[in-house]
C-alpha cells in the first residue's frame, strides 16, 4: 500500500510539473503562468448568456465620471455592438 501511494504521489507530481511547464510555455514564462492561475482564471467565466436570450442591463458611467446610463437604453433602434475590455 505504501508503494501504491508513493507511485500515485510521484505520478501526480510529474503531471503537475508537466502541466505547469506547458502553461509556462503558453503564457511565456513561469511567472506569467503563475499570474494566469492566480489572477486571470478566477475572473474568466464563460457566462450563461445564450443567443436569443434577453440582454442583461447594467448601469454604465460616462467618461466624465458622473453621467450614468443603461446599456438597454442603447438597444432600441439599432443593433448594439458591445466591446468589453480594459487598458492593460
Amino acid at each position: 500500500m505504501n508503494r501504491f501511494w508513493k507511485w500515485t504521489a510521484g505520478i501526480f507530481s510529474v503531471l503537475l510539473m508537466a502541466a505547469f511547464a506547458v502553461l509556462s510555455y503558453m503564457a511565456g514564462s513561469p511567472k506569467d503562468a503563475y499570474g494566469m492561475v492566480r489572477y486571470a482564471l478566477p475572473h474568466m467565466h464563460r457566462g450563461t448568456l445564450r443567443l436569443g436570450s434577453d440582454a442583461p442591463d447594467a448601469r454604465i458611467v460616462a467618461l466624465d465620471g458622473i453621467t450614468r446610463f443603461h446599456i438597454r437604453e442603447r438597444t432600441q433602434q439599432r443593433p448594439l455592438v458591445l466591446v468589453f475590455g480594459s487598458f492593460t
Binding site: D32, A58, T88
Partner: protein, 156 residues
Amino acid sequence: MQIYEDYKDHADFLTVYVREAHPTDEWQMKSNVKDDVCYAQPKTFEQRVAIANDFTKRYKFPLPFGIDEMSNAANDAYAAWPERLYIIDEGGRIAYRGGMGPFHYTPAEVRGWLAARYGAVKHEAPKSPAGVAPASASGAAAPAPAATPAPVAPAK
C-alpha cells in the same frame, strides 16, 4: 476601429471599460512596461475613470465609451473580463456572443454578423513598400480596449 467606421451608420457601438487585465499589482506583463501601460488595479471609481480617460485620450478612441461601476455589474452580467464582444439586436436580445478573450476574441465575427445584415464593406489594400506586410484588407481588426498583447493570442 475599422468596423466602427464601416458600420456606425447601421449599428450603435459601446465600449465598456471593465477591471484591468494586467495591472502592476497583479499579473503585469512585459509588454505593459514596453508600451508604458502601467496601472494598478483601481481601488476607487475615480481611479477607474482616470484610467479610462487615459486610454481614450492616448488612442483617440472614437467609439462611444462607458465605464463599468466598481460593483462590476456589467462585467458580471456579460462575463466580460478580460475582453469580450456581443451584439444586442433591436429587440434587446443577444444576437451575437463572442468567446472569452483573449483567445476567442474575434472581431472578424462581429464584422461577419454586420456584413451579413448590412452588406460587406471592402477596403482596398493599402499601397505599401515591398517587404512591408499590408494591413488586413478586410479591415477585420476592431479595437479592443486592451492595448497590450495577451500572452498567447494578442489582443489588437
